[in-house]
Symmetry: C2
Subunit: 772 residues, 2 copies
């Protein structure tokens, strides 16, 4: 009782202290969802609840697949028109898909085709301006000037809600274009259906052959006003067999239509208030889409749904309290916002979901999440979620990975999964470090032995990515498997995390096997050149070798030897030794950051953005590299590089992300880095200290404890950490242990203009030094 009182008072004081400083906007108000919607960020500005199944957002264009990269989120901030609002979007993906169930309001004569952006009135798309365009967590609004409609969007966990206010007495209409798809190309829609019930409810589905094969997306739509008329159109002109006809002579008579190019037109006449359109999706069935629709308790009350989602965001964002200069505060809160979108909830209201076997399952005791961009997110996104989300979210994520493995026709964990389906994109088996990191950091609520078994199965499935050869040769041979150098080092790291978890579970034989495999990085390291390089099956390194070359199907994955040669997070001291020691490594790191790239052209390669020499912050292989200096005994170099990176790669503007946000990984990097520490080696339970970018941060941890970071002397001039104290005592090492975070406490940085070249430089002061 006394403790409870104390906690409540503590929370109140915390809140008051927040308010006391509060010239600054709330965490919620500090978020700017437009960040990343221009440039290479690939984020979307629309409405989404934390980890929400629906991402309701404007699409400014949908492009054929060879042009689709820049429109991966459907919206580009510099586009002049909006097609409409669709219900599924990736946040910052490097590949694209989704854009399901596009709705657009219209008044008067309907136009069935989108038309061209530079020809106003040529189609249903409408011009818009950023004046009056509003994006808040869970809310988006824009005025469609050609359509003369104010459109507002909000979203709950499984539903999206549109509020369309038509100008004056203009008759209200809504067009549904089931052809429209992000990553659009002929034949993408395999089949679709739309039906209109007597009560005006619209349901349907479409099955697409996109990034994921044969993806089924069901939907249900209800309007707050009675339907005056409707028409269903099949725009497919290349039908081999038209079949017999369902009842209804004209589009206006039809109650249902199937085909590959369907549109629905729904008209409501003159309204005396806004038209509310409520939409739910499901991967299970139309019935389940209806169930999801009706499970949202807010009826047609737009304000109520917006309010409940706002409350959810306030709670989720409030876990981190920040005092920082306004631009940094906006950047970091927006980064936190972007870190809390994926993986997304994928179970319907009845607990059912579609798994990677394309079968419907029921999640017992957990909520199935999907959209796993694991090659990106094992690095910082998942470690961040362990600190800012309840244990249940993290065990849900692990249980989702394990359920996926159980359902997988291959018996392995997800690689890049969305909407329950495997895409086989990128490399590695990085669900493994996600699970190991969660277990080692104390997440429970899943079957650890089953998890270890799933991890081992994934690491020993020979047909996957050259694993057979990797197991027999100790490396992936480039003459049998592309991107062999990257695969070898990533497998070796993943293996190390299996060994760590196996040891924690007392499975010594597994631990030893995978500890040995963790050393496989050495088999692909070329001591002569000092680079990680691809070998052939006969043992020779592949020639010619150009450490600057970036090509698809090359020795590396979305990168070259410069970026990939640092990927040994499980044994950085071993790597440094192999590279010739601390001085050689610092020199090599400097050479990387200062590489003259003016004569190199990487424009042919996607996802290569945010270059600082050969350091490519816009893509993940570089994400831990600035922290490498600390491992080589030069933490002040890390501190300076972090400032360089943060200043050049993040801005609180639409083009403020230098590369794809990759489902929160770019953003999570910033959240950690801003707080002064970073999980270079998930699975180690250590965070490498960098330098903070905030004056004060408080982490309200899931265990109820509070960990505070404070910074003295934060300024552009003070690039360097002078000294650090933990809970009031000097901290001489350059890393923090997870247990120290969990215990609550305070970390204090003192910044200064000159490098402190003696702090945390000794081997045992470095992370992963294996000294106590």
């Amino acid at each position: 009782m006394r403790l409870g009182m104390f906690c409540a008072v503590g929370a109140l004081l915390g809140a008051m202290s927040g308010e006391a400083r509060a010239a600054a906007p709330s965490a919620y108000d500090a978020v700017d969802p437009f960040i990343g919607t221009g440039g290479k960020g690939h984020t979307f500005p629309g409405a989404v609840a934390p980890f929400g199944m629906v991402q309701l957002s404007p699409d400014t264009d949908v492009r054929p697949f060879k042009q689709s990269y820049d429109w991966a989120a459907g919206y580009r901030h510099d586009d002049p028109t909006i097609l409409g609002f669709s219900h599924t979007h990736f946040s910052g993906a490097g590949h694209s898909d989704l854009g399901d169930v596009l709705l657009t309001p219209f008044s008067g004569a309907v136009k069935l085709d989108p038309g061209e952006a530079d020809k106003p009135g040529s189609g249903y798309r409408s011009r818009f301006s950023h004046d009056g365009e509003v994006a808040r967590p869970g809310y988006y609004a824009v005025t469609l000037s050609d359509s003369r409609v104010r459109a507002e969007l909000t979203a709950g966990l499984r539903t999206g809600m549109h509020r369309y206010t038509f100008e004056g007495k203009a008759p209200a209409g809504v067009l549904l274009d089931l052809r429209s798809s992000i990553y659009n190309y002929p034949g993408k829609v395999l089949w679709s259906r739309v039906r209109v019930a007597n009560d005006g409810t619209v349901t349907g589905y479409r099955e697409t052959r996109g990034w994921a094969p044969g993806r089924k997306l069901f939907f249900a739509i209800r309007f707050n006003k009675p339907l005056v008329s409707h028409a269903l159109h099949d725009r497919d002109e290349a039908i081999v067999y038209k079949g017999f006809r369902q009842p209804g002579r004209s589009p206006a008579d039809k109650a249902q239509l199937e085909g590959r190019a369907l549109e629905g037109v729904f008209e409501f006449g003159e309204l005396d208030g806004p038209l509310i359109v409520k939409v739910a999706i499901s991967a299970v069935s139309e019935d389940n889409a209806l169930l999801n629709l009706d499970s949202e308790q807010t009826g047609f009350d737009f304000g109520a749904l917006r309010g409940s989602t706002r409350a959810a965001w306030e709670q989720a964002l409030g876990v981190v309290e920040l005092d920082a200069p306004a631009p940094m505060r906006t950047s970091v809160y927006t980064a936190l916002y972007h870190s809390l979108i994926a993986p997304s909830v994928f179970t319907d209201a009845d607990g059912r979901y579609r798994g990677p076997d394309d079968q419907v399952h029921k999640a017992e005791g957990f909520t199935f999440h999907s959209t796993f961009s694991l090659w990106d997110t094992f690095r910082a996104e998942h470690p961040l979620l362990l600190l800012v989300q309840p244990e249940k979210r993290n065990s849900d994520i692990v249980n989702s990975l394990l359920a996926s493995q159980r359902h997988s026709p291959y018996g392995i964990l997800p690689v890049w999964q969305f909407h329950g389906l495997e895409t086989w994109t990128m490399i590695g088996y990085h669900a493994v470090p996600v699970i190991a990191d969660a277990w080692l950091k104390g997440i429970r609520g899943f079957d650890a032995n089953a998890a270890l078994d799933a991890m081992v199965k994934s690491a020993t499935y020979a047909p996957y990515g050259g694993l057979g050869d990797y197991m027999s040769l100790g490396y992936v041979p480039i003459d049998r498997e592309p991107e062999a150098a990257s695969k070898t080092v990533e497998y070796a790291y993943d293996d190390w995390t299996i060994a760590r978890m196996a040891r924690a579970l007392g499975k010594e034989d597994i631990a030893r096997t995978f500890e040995a495999r963790a050393g496989n990085w050495r088999n692909t390291f070329d001591a002569k050149s000092g680079f990680i390089r691809a070998r052939r099956a006969d043992g020779a390194f592949r020639t010619p070798f150009d450490p600057t070359a970036i090509n698809y199907g090359s020795d590396y994955t979305e990168g070259n030897a410069w970026q990939y040669s640092w990927f040994v997070p499980q044994d950085l001291s071993g790597l440094i030794k192999a590279m010739g020691g601390d001085a050689a490594v610092v020199k090599k790191l400097d050479a990387m950051f200062e590489y003259d790239i003016s004569k190199l052209d990487y424009s042919h390669a996607e996802d290569i953005a945010g270059l600082i020499g050969q350091y490519i912050h816009g893509n993940e292989p570089s994400h831990h590299v600035a922290y490498m200096y600390s491992f080589a005994g030069a933490p002040w170099r890390t501190q300076a590089r972090l400032k360089q990176i943060v200043d050049s790669q993040y801005k609180p503007t639409p083009d403020g992300l230098s590369g794809n946000d990759d489902l929160g990984q770019m953003s999570s990097w910033l959240v950690f880095t801003a707080l002064g520490f970073y999980p270079v080696t998930p699975g180690s339970n250590e965070y490498v200290l960098g330098r903070p970018f905030v004056e004060r941060a408080a982490l309200n941890l899931p265990n109820g404890k509070r960990f505070t970071v404070t910074t003295e002397g934060l300024s552009d001039a003070n690039l360097y950490v002078g000294k650090v104290s933990l809970n009031g005592r000097p901290l001489e090492r350059g890393f923090l242990r997870h247990e120290e975070l969990l215990a609550g406490g305070s970390l204090h940085f003192v910044m200064q203009a000159k490098p402190n070249t003696s702090w945390a430089t000794k081997p045992q002061a470095r992370s992963m030094s294996r000294a106590p």
Copy 2:
């Protein structure tokens, strides 16, 4: 107890008396499934259980959709090669689809394409001969001479089983071709998948755009021998986007494949016994296909499954006992066999099925059946099932129709449904007479009020087939809706059955409404020409008028004025009066049967076969017409016509059906006619007496009673009925009441060479005379 003893003794005596006569083969052995597999019958010779979900049968060819008509059942008796064995087939349909999950055995190097029938060895198809080809109910066997395999098939309710005996030491292989489809055309397969589990189980699905839109068919396959190797192929050469690749570099490494043109190759090496392949299908999911597979209790015991299906057939066929000349006995038992195939069970072992809304439902308290060729089968197939199948089968059928109406996006009863999906083929709402007839004949176990409501909804859904105009004008206008004359008369009959059921339920208002509508046939009858003719919306009959013209989209459905002018089964006395009375009608009937068609060419129209003048026995509108003479007071003319029809339209040979069997309708006509009576007007509870073609028949009715038909003087020369007695008393009327059948008893015909022109000629002796 005493009664029980008595019944048992009775049954025993029945059996003994059967044996005593038994130079004749058993009912089971009398069936020849080859009947109808040549000519226009469109039946299949393969293995099926009574009302079985799986119809496992050889496909001799699959043709593009414009040539598909003749290959509607996959097999043509005169074809020289077999492609393989697929698991779904219509029995005698006029339109085609199905042919799912084609398997074919091979030895040695696999050929992935079917090749050409006239080039042996050009593909996986194999030559075969009818020597050694065996077809029995539930069993089929053939020797594939090129493949050097003896292939045997059997089927349970939801599974098919293949037994492949390879010649000598030839290595065993099985090819799965998921491209192959009856009614084949580019783009038909929308999407498909095949996966191979570690234990050698193969599962998958395909979604096709065939006769039914977006039909999903899942399957599961288990082999009795371990898989030595497998390969999965995608033969699609026109893939826009190939996507990322699943694990497995070569077809032999792949555990799963998705696409539109998939094949699987499964190899088993040298075997010391036959290879057994067990296959189940499901419309719900792959998991449910596995459930169905494992629910069949016979494991890999081919003989046991064959035996249990044989027992099921013996029970089903044994309901009718027949003494007749051997060819007639074969024809009639085969007709009974063909009457017991559809509607087929469509629920999985867990009671789930896919409905006309494409959603998965669970059947509570009944077994969902599908494949409803209602325009055909309301006439004699469903009335026959009421006499030869248990009440549960018939209530299951009604409950399936009602569930379909509940799930229908249109809220109406099925028109032509298969695999749960509506095809909108043919005209009318003939689920209505099926339900009314069942109710009026005493079938219970369904909600009669809900049924009446569903019937009314179906009869008043304005967008369907001109029903809006029919309701306002009293007929379907030909300038707004094709086949308007046929639609008007069929709607009017269906309406009459609603009135009958409504009256039985005491719903007088509904009864009166639909009784009025039942008279709508008069609005499309042209007294001047004496034909049913199509009218325009302005009331005028459409001109020019040619009563012999048969064209698609004409005034009539698969027919002309000659056939359609008799379709007023609810008011034949009214029709006869309108046509000028008995003599005029007899003359018109004779004119129809004796029409010189030598100068007419109907080769452009499908389903026009079995012509006797303008009487077209190969299609349903004529089916009751020979019985019309009796309504006009000339039953001896009916008797002679029946002999003419039976002799010319049915033979115990592959080309023994003059037209499509239409899911049992052609066959049910023969069963009834052979027994001496026919349900001209389902819903009337009356059967018109024709003349028998058997010496003795006993119907073991579902209520446990036994109704016997005996014939004295059966011979080719004795065309005419001399006298009839019922239960030993002379029967002066020309019809039988359903209650009389149900009561059990004996009907005795005495045949003679000369017409009896006084028997059953008086108005009150005629069926539907409304005299007591």
